[in-house]
Symmetry: C2
Subunit: 191 residues, 2 copies
């Protein structure tokens, strides 16, 4: 039984002990070394991954051959290429471990078949997807309406541990500015 994930699910829906058992039997524990890749362009994303320990990043290589980070994941977050899963097509992105990371993989096929047997699980994933969409919409609002400095301050306030944990150049990539700009920002006394 994977208690951390069950506790996370419990915040949103109730599963009976037998449903918990049935669900956990489908999960596959994966351990990744630092810098190991979970997904690379051209490959199909296998399913949704729940992080129990560590830190992941999802990124694209843009036309200037720079890494553009589109998503981070830490403990108790899900990570996946939803585009690859939804459209059953090869991924365009990388998913990589920033630290040594432990994840629970729920294969897409198992997820879909479990929904029929355990309807509250579908409710849980519907809510997870709605939360991800809302976060993504908010991020678009911030990109358009905040200056780079405001964006950094806002992000630091929301995720203080995260800012300490992730290398500076990755944070800059996620927020859409250069590492040099971020260094100057952090050098300011009031940050």
């Amino acid at each position: 039984m994977y208690q951390e994930l069950l506790d996370h699910i419990k915040k949103y829906v109730q599963l009976s002990p037998s449903q918990q058992q049935q669900f956990c039997e489908k999960l596959q524990l994966i351990t990744l070394k630092r810098r190991a890749f979970l997904l690379e362009p051209g490959k199909h994303c296998q399913g949704n991954y729940f992080i129990t320990k560590g830190c992941m990043r999802q990124f694209l290589i843009n036309k200037k051959l720079n890494e553009q980070i589109i998503h981070f994941g830490i403990e108790h977050w899900w990570i996946a290429d939803q585009d690859s899963l939804l459209n059953n097509q090869p991924s365009a992105c990388y998913i990589q471990a920033i630290e040594e990371t432990e994840l629970l993989l729920l294969h897409e096929k198992d997820r879909i078949s479990l929904f029929k047997e355990i309807p509250p699980l579908e409710t849980y994933f519907r809510i997870m997807m709605q939360k991800s969409f809302v976060a993504s919409q908010r991020r678009i609002g911030f990109i358009f309406n905040q200056t780079e400095e405001e964006r950094y301050r806002h992000f630091s306030k929301l995720f203080p541990d995260f800012v300490q944990r992730v290398p500076q150049y990755m944070l800059a990539s996620y927020l859409g500015f250069t590492p040099q700009f971020l260094s100057r920002l952090r050098a300011k006394k009031d940050l």
Copy 2:
């Protein structure tokens, strides 16, 4: 019976005739005149709206007191403030009709209670949310990795009818540049 919406649902899940009936009984037809508001800041979003005719926009007023369009909706698209629905909190945005518009409202309370009675409906909305999330993630990629001109060309290619239908200044707001810049772009012969 609202056939357009049932046809849309049929692309993703199967509902029995009695489920279709039960679902349609919960829908409320709303007609909006051009420029009428469906939602304003401070009010709670009531549910999800399926557009059967017309065109809507969702926007914020940013700190510079400019309108920032975060979403458009045309026929067969859903529109709602998911943040307000998910967190049961007052909205921060406007949803307004660009043209005279007809929508079907599915109240949030009804939607949640229907999920228990009609599980495929929850599947449908889970997929809709996943599609919205993927579109939103792609949009973030475009904002960071395309020049303004590339973003306009790409959008025009994906949604040619839309570009003709929506006022130029709204399109500029959605794509994150000034109406003046868009005018210069459109004046170029090759667009």
